[in-house]
Symmetry: C2
Subunit: 211 residues, 2 copies
């Protein structure tokens, strides 16, 4: 036939990333079980057979997606903690800022949904996410809060719970966007939400007279 375009290109180096990226979209849309490997392959511009050149099983693809989503987020977290801590309110402001930009700019929402939805079916993945990302982020925030308590900036109370309170509205806003906005709910503007929450949270957690 005509030799216009070749039927496919051999691009061994790029395929795995492309497949994982496509899989992220499909998994985030449908969940693990309802996602068809054929769809993932098609979205990656490849045949199903090609997926099996790079991954053993569907579960393997899922694993790659979840693990890949950890690295950049962990990077952002480290970037904050690596910087000099500064006064407590600044640190919190920075943390929320990064959380918002990560939530807005990456597929955190989709992955969050996946992890929540498939935790029971893939406990090792939930564990990986917990151990390598969530627990570390929460732990870092917890330590920062505990340190501020020692310095007398922050009220008494469980610092780990304070850390959860800190991130909860943003994460719930993300889940809201993923879950209810597609069926017509009014979204929460994450930046505004974060701004207001920052005010309220600091106001609520700082000791009298520190402000």
């Amino acid at each position: 036939m005509d030799a216009g375009q070749p039927k496919f290109r051999r691009r061994k180096a790029d395929r795995p990333d492309e497949i994982v990226a496509a899989a992220l979209e499909i998994f985030a849309e449908k969940g693990f079980a309802a996602a068809r490997l054929d769809d993932i392959a098609r979205r990656a511009g490849v045949s199903k057979g090609a997926v099996y050149l790079y991954f053993e099983t569907k579960e393997d693809v899922f694993r790659a997606v979840v693990e890949r989503a950890i690295a950049p987020n962990l990077g952002a977290l480290r970037a904050i903690l690596g910087a000099h801590p500064g006064p407590f309110p600044d640190l919190i402001r920075q943390l929320l800022g990064v959380l918002v930009s990560v939530a807005g700019g990456t597929s955190l929402g989709g992955v969050l949904k996946m992890v929540v939805g498939e935790a029971r079916n893939f406990p090792e993945l939930a564990r990986i996410w917990h151990d390598e990302l969530v627990a570390q982020a929460l732990g870092a925030a917890t330590e920062a809060i505990a340190a501020a308590q020692l310095r007398g900036e922050v009220r008494a109370g469980d610092p780990r719970a304070y850390a959860l309170q800190l991130v909860a509205p943003i994460l719930l806003g993300v889940l809201w966007r993923e879950t209810f906005v597609p069926v017509g709910a009014r979204p929460f503007e994450l930046a505004d939400l974060a701004g207001q929450h920052l005010e309220t949270f600091l106001n609520g957690i700082l000791k009298e007279g520190v402000r």
Copy 2:
């Protein structure tokens, strides 16, 4: 053969509820797609065929589960709003108390997971949950906060965002329990979390001098 125990009992009246209860457990564990109707039937103490005497399709069973989970929660919500509002902090305290007891005593967590995880596959169900429960609860809290702002009790700011901030830590605590506790994470004691959050939130949202 021996006439010891009959192979089954005819209990038409009780079956639907039993099936829905069993389905809730299985769906909450595995999600919609990965749940086998055979498992649901077995857990309900019945054969798969019997399920189809009472429900048209698997989706129909899922619908029943999600809808059934709305009623009691809506009831609890109405109970609060029906009572005289009282001063703002009392209302908030009450709201959080009910949220915690609902979260602890019912399968809110499992259903929450299901709705989040399957929203894209079942938009009508996400819509039902949003319209009939979530939006109403959030709307009610929003109104209460807006009213308190008018009375000068509460700071300026978006009342809807305040409402989200109010419930976020509890809901995230529930999702934490469902997602990460099974893989070894330390749980958040919901009652303690709510107590601390109540303090922080009120402290952060009330105008100076109101306390």
